[in-house]
Symmetry: C2
Subunit: 345 residues, 2 copies
Amino acid sequence: MVSSVKIAIIGFGNVGRSLAKLIAFKGEDIEKKYGVRLNVVAVADSRGAVIREEGLIPYELLKLCELPRSYIFMYKPYGVSGASVEEVYSRIIPDIHVEVTPPNYKSGEPGLSNILYAINSGANVVTANKAPLVLKYDHIMQCAKQRGVLVKFKATVMAGTPLIDLLKSLKGYSIEAVEGIINSTTNYILTEMHEDLIPYSDALKKAQALGIAEPNPDLDVRGWDAAAKLVIISNVIGEPINLDDVERDDLSRIDLREVFKAIKENMVLKFIAKYKVKEKRASVKITKISKDDILSSVKGTMNAVRIRTDINDIVLIGKGAGGIETAYAIMDDVLSIAEVISPEP
Amino acid sequence: MVSSVKIAIIGFGNVGRSLAKLIAFKGEDIEKKYGVRLNVVAVADSRGAVIREEGLIPYELLKLCELPRSYIFMYKPYGVSGASVEEVYSRIIPDIHVEVTPPNYKSGEPGLSNILYAINSGANVVTANKAPLVLKYDHIMQCAKQRGVLVKFKATVMAGTPLIDLLKSLKGYSIEAVEGIINSTTNYILTEMHEDLIPYSDALKKAQALGIAEPNPDLDVRGWDAAAKLVIISNVIGEPINLDDVERDDLSRIDLREVFKAIKENMVLKFIAKYKVKEKRASVKITKISKDDILSSVKGTMNAVRIRTDINDIVLIGKGAGGIETAYAIMDDVLSIAEVISPEP
């Protein structure tokens, strides 16, 4: 028996489109393997929505991805110009609301309102947008509990590399510290500086040309992105901190001579995010590390996290960014919710 | 509200004792953090059992650990000479049966019968004994499903490093291969050979002196242990193979000159376990790897696994053996079962 799960994708940039393609291409395999049909009933962005109660077929999902950003409302006959999330929900309430809007660490919007609206409407939530969790983790989880729905967010940290699941599976351990490389853009820039001996500005330009850095790279290079991830990690391990509590270096101030100096000492500079649990101290800092440290070998857009526990260190390494990687993580969360909400096949 | 979970520990060697100590020392913390009281109502080994319906207090658990192997039946007043698992269950049926008897890859006994008996009695099962799963994974899971109980086994691979959970959390991915260092004894021996340039026999003696290798090291050095772990991994990812399907090298045949040769070529010899999923080919082989490969830097009793998926590689590194590490993994499984079976606090 196949159960069908109604999905709404809110936000339709790189990640939203990657998810739509993934469902279009892999939906049939998933259905065979898990007995779950992933039925996208709505897609929305800031300027409108596409709604089809019976679910968009793979071909339609792929066509949507061909439309320019913010123009999906023109898709015929299902596009609705200016439709808000509220309007989408007045037509159809999905089983799973996927939030892939961009993060805003000041207001949390539009993600925060969207997620709360979904929860209050009885939809389960999967989010790749970090900001709502960073600002209102407890409130969101509290609301979800009261309403009896699930909120999953493994895509928010390390994209397709399941650090959040790993942390959740360490129940009996005392986690003493979590440290590592959790921002791909800055690790790419630093790797380029070390390997090609080019200044920060050139390395940034290269990263931007490849789509690894945003046109405005502030969230990454000023440490906000890594700090936000530390806040989510701190909540997962039950020792929450606030975004403002995280000390941050500004990578854009780095001088190539610092890299030379490190190389001369047989060391490597890395942008290390670190949370010392007992002290409740968190930071994102340019850090000189030894070449013997496994983190020194993590290059380019790879990420790595070392979890220090009372009995051993666990290191997880994997790609930390990318639309398709993030889409896979969302898909995993969607499937784990589907397992719970649908009757066993 | 605190819910109490009745636990039986079957097998009382190094791992069983580590678990008893862990519960004795950390039980109170766990109770505070998760609202679950871990109540050990029975401990059994091959020569008898200790049964206390109200649960053994921490002091009693620690005293039991001071008794020599196979002598717990002498513990007064709760020791019962010659009591079998059946007899234990005739007195009290635990919520969770923890199987930590030694593995036998021919018969699966005594673990296999114990686990099936527990399931049929309605107990959930946590096992660190690999053999029953390696020989009868499907049958065990089928029985558990019919009886409505859970079987967890994360301690069977990489001890305290949760590879099994990681694999289970990759639902949407196509796993193409799993490869790595999953036997600590042989990795320790090879590391010693590389670093101290000593022959196999000396490295083995050192490992034995430190308790890293067994007096009879065959299960480790002839690749059975790693092969058994590959079989469990293959079942977790839904592409099962049999133990006999795994090609194995015998590490005891290695000549120190092979190590010299590898060093000269700037390479490293590792005992690599590998499962290529599509080809259904599995092996445990002495493999020459490049120093650029992250697996080359995994030394001593550390383990590491690389999961190759259709979109990215994920590497997990951590201690792969040890009584206390294994006990932590068992504790995690126990807690995740407790979450499901006990009413939410």
